[in-house]
Symmetry: C2
Subunit: 260 residues, 2 copies
C-alpha cells in the first residue's frame, strides 16, 4: 500500500480512500481488524496523526469503529440501517436547504415515493403500523397542538405508511425524503380548517390501508399531495402580499425606520 505524494489530495484523504475501497470491494470484511495506527503509518509511510485523520474520516461515515486497549484497534463496521438513516436525513435536509429546492419539487418527490409504497403497504401493513397511524391521527385532531408538533406527527404517520410496505430498503431510501421535508413543512401555518381537512384525508388513508385497498390509498395520497401544495402556495402568496403591503407602507412614509 502506497500513496502518491504528488497528488493534490491530502494524504489523509488518499489513505481514507484506499481503505474505503478495500472495504467496498470486500477486501476487508465486516468486523475485521485493521492494522494499528502505528502499523498503518509505517505501511503508508506517513505520521500517525495523518493516519488518524484518515481513520476519523472513515468513522464519520460509519465505515469503521475504534476500540481502545490491548486488543483494540479499528474494525470494519457493519453498517446498520439505523445509522444509515441518520446520515440520509441530515444529508437530504442540507441538500434541500442549501440548494433552494422549491417546495413543489420536494413535495412532488415525496409523494411520488410514498405512492410507490402504497400498494405494498395496502397488502402488508401490520396491525401495529395501522395503530400508529390511528394514534397520530388522533393526536393531530387535538386543538392545543403547535404547528411543529403537528408536522412531527405528520412525519411519524407517513413513516408508518412507508414502513408498512415491509421492505427495509424502501424504508431506508424514503426516510430522507420524508423527514427532510419537515423543515419545509414547518414553514406552513396550519389553520383549524386546514388541519381538519388533513385529518380527514389521513383518516381516509388509514381506512384504505385497513381495507387493503391499494387504489383508494393511492387516490388519497394524490389528494393529500395536491392539498399540501395548495396550502403551501397560499402561504407563499399570503407572505408575498404582506411583504408588498409593507413595502408600500414604507414608501408612503419613508421616514419610519424598522421597528422590529
Amino acid at each position: 500500500m502506497k500513496i502518491d505524494p504528488d497528488s493534490t489530495a491530502d494524504f489523509s484523504a488518499q489513505i481514507a480512500k484506499a481503505i474505503r475501497d478495500a472495504i467496498v470491494s470486500g477486501d476487508l470484511l465486516v468486523d475485521q481488524r485493521l492494522p494499528s495506527e502505528a502499523e498503518l503509518a509505517d505501511q503508508f509511510d506517513v505520521s500517525r496523526p495523518t493516519v488518524r485523520e484518515a481513520l476519523k474520516r472513515l468513522a464519520a461515515q460509519s465505515l469503521i469503529r475504534t476500540q481502545r486497549g490491548a486488543t483494540g484497534g479499528a474494525f470494519v463496521n457493519r453498517l446498520r440501517f439505523e445509522e444509515a438513516y441518520d446520515q440520509q436525513v441530515t444529508t437530504s435536509t442540507l441538500l434541500l436547504s442549501m440548494n433552494s429546492v422549491s417546495f413543489d419539487v420536494a413535495c412532488e418527490a415525496r409523494y411520488a415515493l410514498e405512492r410507490a409504497c402504497a400498494p405494498l403497504a395496502a397488502q402488508r401493513r401490520t396491525p401495529d403500523q395501522l395503530a400508529t397511524m390511528r394514534a397520530e391521527i388522533h393526536r393531530q385532531s387535538q386543538p392545543g397542538l403547535t404547528d411543529e408538533a403537528f408536522c412531527a406527527s405528520d412525519v411519524t404517520l407517513h413513516r408508518a405508511l412507508v414502513d408498512g410496505a415491509g421492505n427495509k430498503v424502501l424504508s431506508y431510501q424514503l426516510a430522507g425524503a420524508v423527514e427532510a421535508m419537515q423543515p419545509l413543512m414547518n414553514m406552513i401555518t396550519f389553520t383549524a380548517r386546514s388541519r381538519e381537512v388533513i385529518v380527514a384525508l389521513h383518516t381516509d388513508l388509514a381506512d384504505a390501508l385497513e381495507a387493503g385497498d391499494a387504489a383508494r390509498t393511492d387516490e388519497t395520497l394524490l389528494k393529500l399531495e395536491s392539498y399540501t401544495r395548495e396550502l403551501a402556495h397560499s402561504v407563499v402568496t399570503a407572505r408575498a402580499a404582506k411583504a408588498k403591503h409593507q413595502q408600500e407602507a414604507k414608501k408612503a412614509k419613508p421616514k419610519e425606520r424598522k421597528t422590529v
Copy 2:
C-alpha cells in the same frame, strides 16, 4: 462553545457534532468561514490535532471544504447533488452487501421506486434522455458485451429513466437504489436468450416513454421486474443444484481436496 470532558465520546466527535449542528440549524451559513484551527482549539480548549480530526470528520461528509494559505481556512460547503449521489451510492451498496439483503427485497424496492418515476418521466422526458436510452439499448444488443458491461449499461438506462422525471430530489433519492443494485445484478449470468428478452422490454419501455404513455411504461416496468426476479431465481437454484452436485461428488471421493 464547550465540550463535555466526561462524555464517553471522543473530543473530536463532540466538536464535529457541535459544528455539524450549527450548520444544520443554519447558525453557520454556506460559504461562511469557520475560525482557524488554532482559534477553534482555543475555543474548545483542546489541541490543534484534535480540532483537525473533527474537521476531517466534517470534510468526509462534504459539510466543509478547506483551503490553504493566508485567506484560507475551513468553509461551510454547499452540498451539491453530485457529491451527495456518491455518498448515497457507497452507503447503499454497503448496506445491501453487509446486511444480507435478499435480491428480491432489493429488486422490489428498486422497481417500486422506478415506477414512482414512470408517470412523471412519460410526461417530461427530454429527447436527450430518450436518446440515451436508445443508445444503451443498442449497446445491449451487441453480442461481444461482457456481463459487467451489460449491467453497467442497464444502470445507465435506468438512470436516464429516473432523470426523465425531471425532479432532482427524486433523481438523488433513487441514485442509490438503482446503482446499489449493480453488484447484485452482476452476479447474474446473462444468456443470449435472456439478453434478448431484456432488450425487447427496454425497447418497449423507450417506446412507451416516447409516446408519453404512463400506463404502458408502468406495465413494462412490472414485466421487467418479474423477469429480473425470475432470472435471479433461476441463477440461485442453478447454483444450489451445482453446489449439491459438488457436495455429493465430494462425499463419494472424500480423498480429493480442493483444487481451486
